[in-house]
Symmetry: C2
Subunit: 136 residues, 2 copies
DNA sequence: GTAAACCCTAGAGTATAGTCTAGGGTCAAG
DNA sequence: CTTGACCCTAGACTATACTCTAGGGTTTAC
């Protein structure tokens, strides 16, 4: 079974452009072209794009998916340790981002809580004051 | 007291380039130039860059800081309600990002937990399997 | 009086992840 | 045999927030 780009796009719920973009960046190359140069995707290709999409959904960047695909393709030379390590490294990065966003949320919440929210002029607003404060 | 760009940069711990970049994007314009065209920053300018930096630290984008500066400058025409609403809107956005990152973290954690992490070939690796799974 | 350190502008480059456009070829249906 | 839906390429454009480069002018210290 082979699919043309539009068919694979519909199946995978990504755009044709995205498939071509992934190809340009070495993530997936159709296993064949027809006489007119149309891309033809095989079952293996469908499998691969599915892998890419799943990996995106769990938060890997395209660059990381690149690495993951290498692991996947050479999985008989790699160990579970290698794969797990890769995921754990990503978890560490995600945890950092999480901490940063939590910090931001807390800061904003503190700002908001201090403001009276009334309809009088904001000349006395604690939010604007706090942002203007030269504590740096 | 007036400062040249390098002095303000050192004081504010941002780069000269960043100051010029902010200027190009309408965030801060030095109140004067000397005869040679050098930027000269006043106390008010220092105050303004401090506002910008504080706002960045609590997670506002440059675009949002633009809006905030408008609120700050016209604070006698604006109410606390306006300012608080602005912050609360941002909190809502941050909460969404937080939820998304938590989702990602959970997914990654689930993947990692299922993998044995051993040193045998990853041909049986549950992580690679899960990512390959065509449930879409 | 010259060299280092600083300033200027305009514009290109970086990273991320696509989306869109122009200009043209291909294929199936009626 | 033509119309619409599809395919191709190359390259520009989006958003975000800078950073760097090239090619000059200025200031300051020795
Ligand atoms: Zn108030
Ligand atoms: Zn207020
Ligand atoms: Zn294992
Ligand atoms: Zn495993």
């Amino acid at each position: 079974m082979t699919l043309k780009i539009g068919e694979l796009a519909a199946l995978s719920k990504v755009s044709r452009d995205t498939l071509r973009f992934y190809e340009k960046h070495g993530l997936i190359t159709p296993s064949a072209r027809n006489a007119s140069g149309y891309r033809l995707y095989s079952d293996a290709d469908v499998h691969r794009i599915s892998f890419i999409i799943s990996a995106k959904e769990v938060g890997f960047t395209l660059n990381e998916i690149h690495q993951l695909l290498k692991l996947e393709v050479t999985k008989d030379e790699k160990s579970c340790q290698d794969v797990k390590q890769f995921v754990d490294d990503k978890i560490a990065v995600v945890n950092q981002r999480l901490a940063e966003i939590k910090r931001i949320k807390t800061s904003l919440q503190t700002l908001s809580n201090a403001c009276c929210g009334g309809d009088k002029p904001a000349t006395h607003c604690t939010i604007l004051e706090a942002l203007s404060d030269q504590t740096n």
